[in-house]
């Protein structure tokens, strides 16, 4: 049995062009390429109209049959200009395809032949049997599973959970050469950093990273959920409305709300110990990144560059920070680059770091511009996280709606101070971490605040993404 690959080419093209993730990718790529270019490919490609048409046409770059017997499985790499997409195609006789897809008609590519007769071709990721076969293929037969659960699809990849035990990311938008996420995860694993879901298998073929299988930790929850739980507990203490006490307003305020910092520390849902632990995990992550990717001494230019990139004139912050000579400014290291409360998970074994690169074109789907792969001061990752804590506090206040009061607001501020402080303290008290950041505490604080303001500006520019 051989699949009629030629017959599949037009079906694959049409299918691809129909996919929202494909459309999202090319629209961003075309926008990035600028108004003069016909497409993302146009920056390096031909400038004639015919060339432009070629650059926007979808071509099958390669195809490989992974499983010839029915249900069959093949992988396609499709090219549009410089962009590359992976499509996993499955096929079965029409009757069994309908059953396998359980009405998921949107996954259909169309009819073709596999040499034994007519079959229906479809997106293989919609077929449990084929997803299980793919797992066996990717892991070289080392892993088998029984149950498949699909996660919501993001632009760059599809994710599948097997038996609530393994997690496979199948990349849709491909990158030539080593993919940043795969590279970081494998290297961190190599240097013994274990606060991340451990890689189990990695699929690379034809010069592309195609899939990554990692352990799945079902009990792990986003840090954001813990933060919101803590805030909910705390803000429940705040009076729902300002007390009417015109004669002695100060006294009334002190009765209803004591020292907000003390209130936060005394709240049952206090998150500070968790944030200290997260700070320590962050420090271990940075130390592992240094081990895996090296470091350079930071100096004033490291910080100036980073602030300029955010559209901030660094002069004021640098002047306030004082001298940032080499040796006193810490290190420039490979950063996580998109480090916020949705990128850390609390598991039974402590904090885990995830999200080393989901969407190369977007940074990430929900957190604005990515700094992935850039070298910078670890303070940038820390600022990402403290800003994320601030956003959580704002969100919790917002959820109170009309019940938001001055008292609640004071409590939320105090919550942020305490937890951001605990995060930084946990970081700095981890063995070996303090040398990565500027030595002078006042300098550290100034720069952390500057980076946080930069995040704030970025958020204000694109609030929907935070």
């Amino acid at each position: 049995m051989t699949l009629d690959v030629d017959a599949l080419r037009p079906l694959a093209r049409t299918y691809l062009e129909r996919q929202p993730w494909y459309q999202a990718t090319i629209s961003v790529a075309d926008a990035t390429a600028g108004p003069d270019a016909p497409s993302a490919a146009g920056t390096t490609g031909p400038s004639t109209e015919a060339g432009a048409a070629r650059a926007t046409a979808v071509e099958v770059e390669s195809a490989e049959v992974l499983r010839a017997q029915r249900p069959g499985l093949a992988r396609f790499v499709l090219a549009r200009g410089e962009l590359r997409f992976q499509l996993l195609v499955g096929w079965r006789p029409a009757a069994s395809a309908a059953e396998a897809l359980r009405g998921g008609e949107s996954a259909l590519l169309g009819p073709c032949s596999d040499g034994d007769g007519p079959v229906l071709a479809y997106d293989a990721l919609a077929d449990d049997d084929l997803v299980l076969a793919l797992l066996a293929h990717v892991t070289g037969g080392a892993e088998r599973a029984e149950r498949v659960r699909r996660m919501p699809t993001l632009v760059s990849h599809s994710s599948v959970v097997f038996d609530e035990r393994l997690f496979m990311k199948c990349y849709r938008v491909l990158e030539r050469g080593a993919r940043s996420e795969v590279d970081v995860v494998l290297r961190l694993d190599e240097v013994g950093f274990n606060a991340l879901p451990a890689p189990v298998a990695h699929w690379r073929a034809g010069g592309y990273d195609l899939a990554l299988v990692r352990e799945f930790l079902p009990g792990a929850l986003e840090g954001r959920l813990l933060a919101m739980t803590s805030l909910r507990d705390l803000l429940a203490h705040a009076p729902a409305a300002a007390p009417p006490a015109p004669e002695a307003p100060d006294e009334a305020a002190s009765v209803t709300l004591g020292d907000p910092d003390a209130e936060v520390a005394a709240a049952g849902g206090d998150l500070a110990s968790e944030m200290r632990r997260l700070g320590a995990t962050t420090a271990s992550l940075h130390l592992a990144l240094v081990q895996g990717f090296g470091e350079q001494p930071a100096d004033a230019s490291t910080f100036a560059r980073a602030l300029r990139r955010e559209g901030i004139d660094p002069a004021e912050a640098l002047e306030k920070a004082g001298p940032l000579d080499r040796g006193a400014a810490g290190s420039a290291i490979r950063l996580h680059g998109d480090y916020h409360l949705r990128r850390v998970m609390r598991s039974e074994a402590g904090w885990l770091v995830v999200g080393f690169g989901d969407d190369p074109l977007y940074g990430s789907t929900d957190a604005g511009t990515s700094l992935r792969g850039t070298l910078g001061s670890p303070l940038e990752d820390l600022a990402d996280m403290t800003f994320s804590l601030r956003m959580a506090a704002r969100e919790a206040l917002g959820q109170r709606g009309s019940a938001e009061t001055a008292a609640a607001s004071l409590l939320a501020d105090a919550w942020w101070r305490r937890n951001a402080g605990a995060l930084v303290e946990g970081y700095l008290t981890t063995d070996g971490a303090v040398r990565l950041v500027p030595a002078d505490p006042a300098t550290r604080e100034t720069l952390l605040a500057a980076f946080e303001s930069a995040r704030e500006l970025r958020y204000e520019a694109t609030p929907a993404e935070a």
């Binding site: 149950r147 659960r149 609530e164 079902p218 009990g219 792990a220 929850l221 959920l225 813990l226 739980t229 803590s230 909910r232 507990d233 429940a236 520390a265 005394a266 049952g268 849902g269 206090d270 110990s273 200290r276 609390r346 039974e348 074994a349």
Partner: protein, 585 residues
Amino acid sequence: MRPAARQLVTAAGAPPGASELSHVETTPASRPLLDDPRWYERAVFYELLPRGFYDANGDGVGDVPGIIEKLGYLEWLGVDCIWLLPFYPSPLKDGGYDVADFCGVAPDCGTVDDVVRLVEEAHRRGIRVIADLVLNHTSDQHPWFKESRSSRDNPKADWYVWSDTDQRWSDVRIIFLDVERSNWTYDPVRQQYYWHRFYHHQPDLNYENPEVREAMLSVVRFWLDRGLDGFRLDAVPYLYQHDGALGENLPETHAFLRRLRQEVDRDYPNRVLLAEANQWPVDVVDYFGDGDECHMCFHFPLMPRMFMALRREQRFPVTEILAQTPDIPDGTQWGIFLRNHDELTLEMVTDEERDYMYAEYARDPRMRRNLGIARRLAPLVDNDRRVAELLHALLLSLPGSPVLYYGDELLMGDNIYLGDRDGVRTPMQWTPDRNGGFSRADFAQLVLPPLMDPVYGYQAVNVEAEMRDPSSFLHWLQRMLAVRRQHPIFATGGLEVLPADNPSVLAYIRSGMGDGEGPERSVLCVSNLSRFAQSADMSLARWQGAVPVELIGRAEFPSVGEDPYHVMLGPYGFYWLDLEDWGQP
């Protein structure tokens, strides 16, 4: 089944009040003991203080005959085994754990014959009885020690651990940090130091001496011959010490426990050894041996974490310790508890967690004892009945045999102004009458003053009132114990924590063959640790098609489909859902 108790409730047409209560106490025995060598795996234990439970002879001190009088109540409640705190002759400098005669009963508690009668009467009601046994040490008033200290060459000279120096084993930690500065105390009579891991008036026995080992095995045989169903072994990790070790968990200690177990298994069927080893689960499992040491061990770290999880409104303190709990050998079981006669011990938490627990649960320094918090359950949870119910729901559904502490079924309070741990050992509150119905003696004669405060005092909180009130916590707990008994899966089933998507929701599955027969069953236990209503999704893919049935009211819940199962819970709410497919014939 407990026909007598049920008959009582229905005959009265209402829950039994004061007059019915006395009827309970004289109800003929109804439930003979089953010949079951693994009874302890499904038992509900009830820890009681003989001196504080009921005073039958009116001398102001609770006694063994008093317990016999109240067996009807314990049977009604649904207790399977009573654990008696020490009743031995003792100078009572450590709640009776300073034993002066292992084969006697303190005169104010009764006689050996009373204990024999208690065991017989309890057995007739299907209740077993175990007692505290202190293996590690004696009182300094024990004749063995008096003889041992009298000279360096008497026949018992080597029954305790003597030394010319107090510098030996200086790395061994001191347990009662509040009062002891060293594990050695100088004896001016013998002019040597003696070793003691606990108070200085409790010298450690020398287990290197075979005569000591034989003497303690004789003590075990003495009580098992009189019908006791086993022992709660006090402070087992400390029996041996030697150079270069930290004086805990030594191989020789385990060898002695295996020897003890062999003796028990050989001559005394259906008995239990329950070890108190306040260690991390990974170390405690050693006390199960290969199923050839203790039948049961207490799971100490779980308890403070249940409280911590509730205060933080998130499940990780509990799920973390469950993840760190190893599997245990077949035929063994954990003992789990919310509160006991000691402080809420915080030895098995990190320093940071201890600070947190002190801040949350012991704001008044008087509430702190050693490394722990000396409070009863109700004051710990601010007398919030919903929290007490949720904690008991966890206690009854997590793996292990639950151990209740007397008075907590009433949500009794404590008295933090009493010394040491007496604050949680005040008399049981039976009625709103004088001395809470505990004793007919004059108030001044009482072993400890009963609580009289307006919230927890006996006028407000007592058995009689709660028996009369069908919606009391006591009735609620009695029903829950009955539900648990109907579902052995809670006792012997496996545990799988489910990943609910809400940190305030703790969900787990208990599953297995139940009582060893029939099809595999699964019960989903889902709890809301928050004081606010919560919802959560969890994956139940393996149970797709099942129609969950709530165990207490037998109400059907929406069937399990392909999508994550959605549960909504009120504040501190919980469900026990049987995942049996009730929709199918």
